[in-house]
Amino acid sequence: MAAPIGQPRVRLPASAKAGEIIEIRTLISHVMETGNRRDQEGKTIPRDIIKRFVAKFDGQEVFAMDLATAISANPYIAFPFKVEKAGSFEFTWTNDAGEERKSTAELKLA
């Protein structure tokens, strides 16, 4: 059974000017179990990681990332974004089992 994907944290500026480059920061609670570890009885603990992260702005994909087993638990992902207009972000984290966790954020123009 896949561990539940925890509550995400997302932070971006309250508002930004057109043409400005802002940083979008995300953090999500997840075990990122590598599949290489064994439990106390010697049985392999099955792999369970966040496999993919996608950020969409007004429905259009603006950033995506494939994650691998070497990435630590509770992955922190930040990326730059060039502001052109106001709109809404949708962030999606997907685990090995295909389960998704979504979060949204609004971007306002200053």
Binding site: G6, Q7, R9, R11, R25, L27, S29, V31, M32, S72, A73, N74, Y76
Partner: protein, 268 residues
């Protein structure tokens, strides 16, 4: 400790030495700290680690803080109460609590840690089962509580009935143990600031706990770390939440007296 005390005064003249002996004869007097001017563990951490700690967004321990915050007002147990039912706003009521714990509990007749305090409250006032020591929900609660005291100086009260528990903690600290035959101070007093493999040895100050440990990839409680220390000297660690570690945690808090609470710290 006594030998050190006397040795320090020996240069001061025979009269002073006589006074010291008189003071010791009256039952030891106030305990003296081996490191009178302690340095927080952050002093020995790498800049990269501190960058994570000092950014409340990036610091993964805040995932625990948020869990603790949700649990604070979540009713549990037969009394149908949450922490907030009695204590209201944690930012007000819990300010400074982490800084003065562990503390003597007159009803229990012993020193209790913040973890134990939470569980006593759960059992006696909420009618809820106690949380396992070092479990995620308990670490989430203590991290949330600890944050309310961030920046306040550690200030535990070792006087009066608490003193015997302090003395037991001090004995544990100074007892050589394990196949390596080391006491806590072998690393944290005699060799702090020197490399132990890739890391600098700290002074073993507890002001940052509960701490997000990058090695464990989770928030850990102080007593979990203590077990790690005892295992590292190839000793047999007493159980978390037991009497030995509780008294030791009390002694450690006194060693860190005056340092600002850093909860939640980040360490390698």
């Amino acid at each position: 400790m006594r030998a050190r005390h006397l040795a320090g005064l020996a240069g001061g003249g025979v009269a002073l030495l006589g006074l010291a002996v008189a003071a010791l004869a009256q039952g030891g007097g106030e305990p003296q700290r081996a490191i009178p001017d302690p340095q927080s563990g952050r002093h020995f951490a790498t800049p990269e680690t501190l960058e994570i700690q000092d950014d409340d967004f990036q610091n993964p321990a805040f995932l625990w803080v948020e869990e603790g915050e949700r649990a604070w007002s979540h009713a549990e147990g037969s009394a149908g109460k949450s922490c907030a039912s009695c204590h209201g706003d944690a930012a007000e009521s819990m300010k400074g609590v982490r800084a003065r714990y562990p503390a003597f509990d007159a009803k229990k007749g012993r020193v209790v840690t913040l973890e134990q305090r939470v569980n006593i409250c759960r059992e006696e006032n909420m009618g809820a089962p106690p949380l396992r020591i070092d479990s995620r929900p308990l670490n989430a609660m203590t991290t949330y509580l600890g944050l309310q005291s961030r920046g306040m100086p550690v200030q535990v009260d070792i006087s009066g009935p608490a003193r015997p528990f302090f003395d037991k903690g001090e004995d544990f600290y100074n007892t050589r143990r394990g196949q390596l035959d080391m006491r806590c101070g072998s690393c944290h007093e005699d060799n702090f600031g020197r490399h132990l493999r890739a890391d600098l040895l700290s002074q073993g100050m507890s002001n940052g706990f509960p701490t997000y440990r990058l090695k464990e990839q989770r928030v850990i409680s102080l007593q979990y770390r203590l077990q790690g220390c005892v295992n590292d000297v190839r000793g047999q660690a007493p159980p978390m939440g037991g009497e030995e570690f509780t008294n030791l945690e009390f002694y450690l808090a006194w060693r860190a007296q005056g340092l600002p609470v850093e909860t939640p710290a980040v360490r390698r």
